[in-house]
Symmetry: C2
C-alpha cells in the first residue's frame, strides 16, 4: 500500500514534508514524494535518506485561489491526485492549500455515488476520547440532506478507527428537539429517520469537548468557526498559564516541577497530534493537514492515512451512503 | 439609581441572589429584590441583612417555556420588568430563564426604535482584554440587516465600557472579503457602508480569543455554539490540567506551588467574573446572567449593570441605531 505525499504543500514544505515522510517510512509507511525533483532530492540528501519520487514542476501556493488547480495539471497536488486515480497509490496526503486539495480531489476523483457534497472531518479532543465533527469547512451553506450524509460518513470514519457504537449529535443551541436554526429544525427528523438509534439528538457547543456524541454534524460555517475558536482558545489559555507560571519565584519553581504534566495536556490539544483529517465523500482516500504542520504532524498524517486505508475507509463510506438510499 | 433583581431566577435562587444582592448593596448598588416576600425575608434574615422588596408570588422555572411569561404577570421576572417600565428602577438583572427574560423584556418594554431584533451580547476573555460577541443566542436565524444593528449596538456597549476606538469584526471562515456563508457575503458590504472605518472586516473563530476586533457580530446560532464551545473547552482543559498535576509526586508539589497562578487563569475564563450580559435593543437596561450563577456572579452582575446605566448604555444604543438610518 503506497501513499502519495504532496511534498510541496504547507508553509514549511519541502523541509518538514520530506523529514516527516522519512520518519513515517521508518515506521512502515510506503511514501511516494510528489514535487520538484531537484528540491526533494536535496532535502533527502540532507538527511541521507531515500524515497520514491514523482516529479511535479509546479505547485499551488497557500495564497493562490483554489480553482487554480484545474488549470495547473503539473502542480504537485494535481499530480498526486492523478496517481491516486490511476491506482498507483492508495491515498493522498497534503498539508497544502485546503481548497485546492478539495478542488483537485473533486475534479480528479469525483464523488462517491449518492454524495451531494464531500465534507472535511475535523477532530477535537474530548473528555471521553475524541469527537469527530463534520463539516469542518468544505461547505459554508448546507442543505438538511447534506447533514444526513455527513452523519453517515462520520459514523463510517469512527467505525474505521474502531469506535464500538458511535452516535451522531446534531449541533444546536439547545438539547431539546425544536431548538435550533432553520437548518437544524429540518435536519433533525431526517437524521432520526435515517439513523434510528445511532442518532443521539441535539448537542450543544460544550458537548464537543465533553464528548457527548462521538460524531457531531453541522454546516461547514459553524464547524469551521468551532474548529478555529477551539484552536485559538487553547493557544491563548496556555499563553496565560505560561505567563502566570512566570509571575513569581514560587510559581516558577512549581512550573518547573509540573512542566511534564502540563506539556502532556498541551500536546493533547495540539492539532499536530492528529496529523491530517479526511475529505470524506470523494472517490479516494484524501487527507488534508494543517498548513503550519511540522514534521511530526506529517509523520502522524501518513500513519493515520495508512491505518484508515487498511481499515477500508473508502469502502465503508460507500456502503454507509448506499445504505441511506435503501 | 435603583436596580431590580429577579431574586427567584437561576438554579440556586433565592439563596445566591439574596447573598449577591447584599454584597452589591455594600458596594453601593441600590438593589430592589423581586420575588416571594416570605422566602426573601427568610434569606435576608439568615444574613442579618435588609433590602427593599417587591412581592411577586409566581416564578418562571428554568424548565418552563419562555412564552409562559406572557400569561404570568405575577412572576418575578414580569414584575421586575414592570418596575423598569414604570421608571421605578433603572435596570433589571436576572439569572433566570434566558428566553423568558427576553420575552418579558420584548413584551413589556418593546424595542428601541429601528431595531429589528434585540440581541444578547456575550463576553469572551481575549489576549487584548475582552471580545464582545453578538448575537449570543437570541436569534437563531438572522438577516444581514440584523447584523448591522448588532454591530452598532455592540460598538455602543464597548464605548459605554470605555473602549477607546472599538472595531467590529464579521465572524467568518476566512479573512478575505468573499469568504463565508450566504449571510456573511450579504452582510459584509452592508457593514462596510454603515460603519466605515469602524468595520474591521472578516475575522475567524480564533480571533475571538486573540482579540483581533473588540466587537464580533454573527447570527445567534453560531454565537451560541461559540459561547458554549468556549465554556466547555475551558472546563475540560482545566480538568485535564488538574489530572495531570495529580499524576506524580513531583507534579503534585509543582501544582501546590503554582496553585495561585493557575487559579488566576481559571478565574479569567470563568463566566462568573462577568456576572451578566445585556440584552441590547430593548427599551430598557436588561441584563441576563448564567442560570448556574453563584453569589459572586450575582454581585458582579449588579455592579456591571450599575456601571452601564451610569454610562448611559440605553441612550448610546438609541443613538447608534438612529445613526444607521440617517
Amino acid at each position: 500500500m503506497r501513499i502519495a505525499l504532496d511534498a510541496m504543500g504547507g508553509d514549511h514544505a519541502p523541509r518538514v514534508t520530506v523529514l516527516g515522510a522519512l520518519w513515517a517510512s521508518r515506521e512502515g509507511v510506503e511514501v511516494v514524494l510528489v514535487g520538484d525533483e531537484e528540491a526533494l532530492k536535496a532535502e533527502l540528501a540532507r538527511h541521507g535518506g531515500s524515497l520514491p519520487l514523482v516529479h511535479a514542476p509546479d505547485r499551488i501556493r497557500m495564497e493562490e485561489h483554489a480553482t487554480e488547480v484545474r488549470r495547473r495539471p503539473q502542480s504537485s497536488i494535481a499530480v498526486a491526485m492523478e496517481l491516486l486515480k490511476r491506482g498507483e497509490v492508495q491515498a493522498v496526503v497534503s498539508m497544502g492549500h485546503t481548497g485546492a486539495t478539495m478542488a483537485a480531489a473533486l475534479f480528479t476523483l469525483g464523488r462517491v455515488k449518492g454524495v451531494e457534497r464531500p465534507a472535511l472531518l475535523v477532530e477535537f479532543p474530548s473528555l471521553r476520547g475524541r469527537t469527530f465533527l463534520l463539516d469542518g469547512g468544505a461547505n459554508a451553506d448546507c442543505r438538511p440532506s447534506f447533514l444526513v450524509q455527513f452523519a453517515a460518513m462520520g459514523l463510517a470514519y469512527a467505525e474505521a478507527l474502531g469506535a464500538p457504537a458511535p452516535k451522531v449529535g446534531l449541533l444546536s443551541i439547545g438539547e431539546e428537539e425544536g431548538k435550533g436554526n432553520a437548518l437544524v429544525l429540518e435536519a433533525f427528523p431526517l437524521l432520526k429517520a435515517a439513523l434510528g438509534g445511532r442518532f443521539y439528538g441535539n448537542v450543544e457547543g460544550r458537548d464537543i469537548f465533553l464528548g457527548t456524541a462521538e460524531v457531531v454534524v453541522t454546516d461547514g460555517f459553524t464547524g469551521n468557526v468551532a474548529l478555529k475558536l477551539a484552536e485559538g482558545e487553547a493557544k491563548v489559555l496556555f499563553t496565560w498559564i505560561k505567563e502566570a507560571l512566570a509571575s513569581s519565584p514560587l510559581a516558577r519553581l512549581g512550573a518547573l516541577l509540573a512542566r511534564g504534566a502540563l506539556r502532556r495536556v498541551r500536546e493533547r490539544v495540539d492539532p499536530a497530534q492528529y496529523g491530517a483529517m479526511p475529505l470524506l465523500g470523494v472517490e479516494g482516500a484524501v487527507f488534508i493537514g494543517h498548513g503550519s504542520a511540522d514534521a511530526l504532524a506529517v509523520k502522524n498524517a501518513l500513519l493515520r492515512a495508512k491505518a484508515l486505508v487498511e481499515a477500508g475507509l473508502l469502502e465503508r463510506v460507500r456502503r454507509a451512503i448506499a445504505a441511506l438510499h435503501v
